[in-house]
Symmetry: C3
Amino acid sequence: MKVIIAKLDISTKGDPDLINITGEISQTLESSGLENGSLTVFVVGSTAAITSFEYEPGLVQDVRDLFEKLVPREKHYNHDETWGDANGFSHLRAGLQGPSLTIPFEAGKLLLGTWQQVVLAEFDNRPRQRKVIVQLIGE
Amino acid sequence: MKVIIAKLDISTKGDPDLINITGEISQTLESSGLENGSLTVFVVGSTAAITSFEYEPGLVQDVRDLFEKLVPREKHYNHDETWGDANGFSHLRAGLQGPSLTIPFEAGKLLLGTWQQVVLAEFDNRPRQRKVIVQLIGE
Amino acid sequence: MKVIIAKLDISTKGDPDLINITGEISQTLESSGLENGSLTVFVVGSTAAITSFEYEPGLVQDVRDLFEKLVPREKHYNHDETWGDANGFSHLRAGLQGPSLTIPFEAGKLLLGTWQQVVLAEFDNRPRQRKVIVQLIGE
């Protein structure tokens, strides 16, 4: 049993920016040489999240629309007073979706479905440089 | 330390179908012989999710109603154009809830509360044959 | 590789009560002596959840407001009939957010962002005594 960690540096655009990171994650698993275990994807920061969905343009737009409906950008949030950066909606969206996703792997392959991609959701209202942790525990 | 994996095959009805899989998961833990560690439940596919709640008929209906409110079935989604299978709402519900749940176990027992069941949420609009991965890491 | 478990006992007020438990969790990691691995926070029970956000009073209020919008307290839920304790909304909020969060650690430190706190969300409508499991797998 081993613990292996990798850090992805990803430039985002915000508003929101939904980025398919499945390729990078699969590559991390491949490079690790591990065969069986558990992979955790974790985004550092409180205005981004990790989610998974079928990554195609129609659904990317639907996910944007859903978060706009659940947590509208233009509403006033108390947090907007705290730092004056008007990204209360970003924090709320990120907290609701969550920063972490755990995926099992077997025989060196992630057990994702064919249309199940791992997506970094940048909910901040401006471009960011994100650190995404990919951690593997296995053998 | 060991990694053990089991795969449950579960027939679902859709629309949505909320299925209590706590028994199957507990049995997987029991069969493994592991005493202390972490169990991850992961559903393969982008139109189902793993959640947990008190599994009783009233709350099952409330969960259905909540998802109908948050992500209505009859609304038009861009994804519906992509494949013509009209299940944009299924993808959005699944992504919001998430495909994965990690639960610690100790002395061979999952540390769930008495009224805390693990539930496979089939959000697709038709019956599916689902693969649910149960992965244990522990000793 | 080792598995280490700790249990936090936390008194909550309900309605909801959002409690920053980052300090307790970091202390658990420190006491464990582990350097690299994965930490899972899991709340036992079906009316509480684990989330993460920037813990400051404005955003704490925004999170309360968001859950009141998504799952209003005063609406009637079917679950309210089951036990007569009128906390259907608590169960729904807890299920939507989820009971579990997994965070990688490295060199003895959790890889959280500076403004990314771990929060116990008590969604029940009355004070509770909560057990929060902190489980570490690593070396």
